[in-house]
């Protein structure tokens, strides 16, 4: 009896010791994890950070680069991110909601370091919404900027990219009427692809991809800081890392069809009865690239779904609809092929016609530029009127 009781006491004592040991191990584990998971090395209070909303890259002194960083002030940040979405006349006591820091150096990192010296907070690039490149950057400066951004892990590659002919610091400091925080204008603009005539959004990721892919040229939307808001309706096409041609708004529209980025483009089509207003809702395309007789042959087949929103007569007839479809197709062939030829002449291939060819046959890659310049380009457009509106 006594022996059994002693055994029970010993057993309980062992269990208790084991339990406490386990608790000890768990406590040590929890404390260690809590310390490490807190990420204390990288921890910065948000009010000790300068959250960069837009970054501008332009040529700097001595062949270096100048980086401009648009940063919201604390009051600008609060008013600009409030539920109302702000507006230029929002809070902040008349002070500008953002300020621009600039720094110059032989490379991007040095330029950012110079900018860092002008602020008492940590410059944080993880919230950058847009990177604005100057039109005057040399090919080497542009390529090194892309390379720097590509290696910058915490930088969000989904940030938008654009190009500006005006000095980028001036463009970044521009205050649009519709948005209190200027750089946030682009977030609204580019994330709503269906809101634009031609969806012109480009991301840093796409730039990175196009920089390394032979046969796939860079293109960027051009940003102009004029009027009440930013104006974004032209495309700048690149040859390699150099901007070579800036398309007019009409040519941009044609290229929008080519890239299947058009959502709200309109056309005025002449018919025997008078001009017809057509809204091309959606264009999809199929590219066929073949290699024959030592030349690349490109054929683009566009399918356009259109809406008639203005008629010169009171009643639409099947004949008129067919005339409109034919005329829209003919006009799009003419305008789009003109843009294709223009881009080819400048050695720019934003659609990347040759990329699959060069991937399949690595021997062609070193010659892709001359192959593209000598390629035959053709286009066919098939238009279908989908809707004539709520009137006969």
């Amino acid at each position: 009896m006594l022996e059994r009781a002693v055994m029970q006491i010993a057993s309980r004592s062992t269990e208790r010791a084991t339990r406490w040991r386990r608790r000890g191990v768990a406590l040590v584990a929890v404390v260690s994890l809590a310390i490490m998971l807190a990420g204390c090395w990288d921890s910065r209070p948000v009010d000790a950070r300068d959250l960069v909303l837009a970054m501008g890259v332009s040529p700097g002194p001595h062949h270096g680069v100048t980086v401009s960083l648009a940063i919201p002030t604390p009051t600008g940040l609060v008013s600009g991110t409030s539920a109302s979405g702000g507006g230029a006349s929002g809070g902040g006591g008349g002070k500008p909601p953002t300020y621009v820091l600039t720094g110059s150096g032989p490379d991007m990192g040095a330029a950012i370091a110079m900018a860092q010296a002008d602020t008492n907070r940590d410059i944080y690039l993880g919230q950058t919404q847009i990177v604005l490149f100057s039109h005057r950057l040399s090919a080497q400066q542009f390529a090194s900027a892309i390379s720097w951004l590509a290696r910058l892990g915490p930088f969000d590659k989904t940030a938008f990219a654009a190009i500006s002919e005006a000095p980028v610091a001036t463009t970044l400091a521009y205050q649009p009427v519709s948005t209190r925080l200027g750089p946030m204008y682009f977030l609204t603009l580019f994330t709503c692809t269906g809101c634009q005539t031609v969806a012109l959004h480009r991301t840093v990721w796409s730039l990175e991809m196009r920089t390394v892919t032979p046969g796939l040229s860079i293109w960027l939307p051009a940003v102009d800081a004029v009027g009440p808001n930013f104006v974004v309706r032209r495309i700048v096409a690149f040859h390699g890392d150099t901007p070579v041609v800036q398309l007019t708004p009409t040519e941009t529209l044609a290229m929008g069809y080519l890239l299947a980025h058009t959502t709200k483009a309109t056309l005025s089509v002449p018919t025997p009865a008078g001009p017809v207003g057509v809204r091309a809702v959606h264009a999809s395309r199929v590219n066929t690239v073949t290699w024959a007789h030592g030349r690349m042959h490109v054929h683009v087949a566009l399918s356009v779904m259109a809406i008639i929103d203005q008629l010169p007569v009171s009643h639409a007839s099947p004949t008129l609809i067919r005339d409109v479809e034919t005329e829209v197709s003919r006009r799009l062939v003419r305008e789009t092929l003109k843009v294709m030829t223009l881009l080819q002449r400048h050695g720019s291939d934003p659609e990347g016609f040759g990329a699959p060819l060069f991937w399949d046959d690595p021997a062609l890659r070193p010659h892709w530029e001359s192959i593209y310049r000598q390629a035959t380009l053709s286009l066919s457009v098939s238009t279908t009127v989908q809707d004539v509106g709520d009137a006969t």
Binding site: S32, W41, D42, P154, D156, M209, V212, T213, W359, P362
Partner: protein
């Protein structure tokens, strides 16, 4: 106290799959595309076929003595002279795998999330979590893996679907008609890391309950086919969204592609980053399986049966893993080691050791049969 020696067929399949899928998660399909070019698809299929064949080979080894670990019976079939080098090789292989994945994960974290955090802190964190997972028991480890692994895997696939609208480079996915066997074989060789770690089956198999072993094998093959489908899905998404040249240029193309997934109106708008964070669970599980294997492999040979001995070995190998991880301070060094030493070593181990063991067993059995057939001489 002995460790539990009864896990179900499902636990076996999940633990086995978890033991290899984290190896290639971050850098796949860079090597496949860079070496295979337009023929990468054939290389991938070759890798999948080789992995299934390799699994079959290890199962044949298990069938020699189904209730024992290789560490226990290897001396009987290839003599202790060869047995101990094989044991050491096993230990080295699992340690290297743990080191490779721990350092790789630490560098991913530093590059994308915590640039100011020291690498050693992240490696220590990974090792401690893995140690804790492997600490209690085999069945508990299996349950932990099952709870963490399957939801994370399913969530990854669902989130990856959000990449579909970004598939602008799909032209790079279909293979060309040209077939160059040397290129295909080289790309398959370089990218077989996708399946590194499946050799854990040789240690895990004896823990499966007797009645469930055939079923466990079937589940393991099925899980491997599903893993191949998972990787094929990842291949299409990453290559289709990044294009082949960026896949080659990026250090961790899978992570880069997942970072593109955003939902602007959702509470967590950077959903892709969230999934990459969840992938840390795959890494913890992978390293936990390596530690578990290291803790179990030498026990039969050293005649250690208590759970305390297992835990001491876990702690010892975790410390070795952590110490060895300090050798690699950047991804370039890790990649160089990976290409020059780990790839040939792993291929040699996975496709060299099982045939040696099977041959040794065949010779041993033939000798035993001959000895049994030879009439013994009468005692003088």
């Amino acid at each position: 106290m002995r460790t539990t020696r009864s896990i179900s067929a499902l636990y076996f399949a999940v633990m086995l799959t978890a033991a290899y899928t984290a190896a290639g998660l971050f850098q796949f399909p860079r090597e496949l595309v860079s070496k295979g070019g337009p023929e990468a698809v054939w290389s991938f299929l070759l890798d999948c076929g080789a992995a299934v064949f390799g699994l079959w080979l290890w199962f044949q080894v298990n069938h020699l003595y189904p209730d024992e670990q290789v560490g226990g019976f290897v001396d009987r079939i290839v003599t202790p002279c060869l047995g101990w080098p094989l044991r050491v090789m096993t230990v080295v292989i699992h340690t290297l795998l743990a080191v490779w994945v721990t350092v790789n994960f630490g560098l991913v974290m530093i590059t994308f999330f915590l640039p100011d955090t020291p690498l050693w802190a992240l490696e220590t964190l990974t090792t401690i979590v893995a140690l804790y997972m492997a600490w209690i028991d085999t069945r508990v480890l299996g349950r932990t893996i099952q709870v963490l692994y399957l939801p994370t895997g399913i969530l990854s696939v669902l989130m990856a679907l959000l990449l579909l609208p970004r598939l602008t480079q799909m032209w790079a996915v279909p293979p060309t008609g040209d077939v160059h066997l040397t290129i295909i074989a080289m790309a398959a060789y370089r990218s077989f890391y996708l399946f590194w770690g499946y050799e854990v089956t040789v240690t895990l198999y004896p823990f499966v309950t007797h009645s469930a072993r055939k079923q466990a094998e079937r589940y393991a093959y099925t899980a491997m086919v599903l893993a191949c489908a998972f990787f094929a899905f990842g291949y299409v998404l990453v290559l289709g969204s990044a294009g082949p040249y960026l896949v080659i240029a990026a250090q961790w193309p899978g992570v880069s592609a997942m970072r593109l997934i955003t939902l602007t109106s959702f509470l967590i708008n950077k959903l892709g980053l969230f999934v990459v964070m969840l992938w840390s669970l795959f890494v913890f599980v992978f390293v936990a399986m390596r530690l578990w294997c290291l803790g179990q492999d030498l026990r039969p040979a050293l005649h250690l049966t208590s759970i305390q001995s297992y835990r001491w070995m876990l702690v010892g190998f975790a410390a070795v893993t952590l110490a060895a991880s300090q050798v690699f301070t950047n991804i370039t060094m890790l990649n160089a080691f990976f290409n020059e030493w780990m790839t040939p070593s792993m291929i040699l181990f996975d496709f060299g050791v099982p045939p040696v063991l099977l041959l040794g067993a065949a010779i041993t059995r033939a000798r035993a049969r001959r000895a049994a057939a030879t009439p013994s001489s009468p005692p003088p």
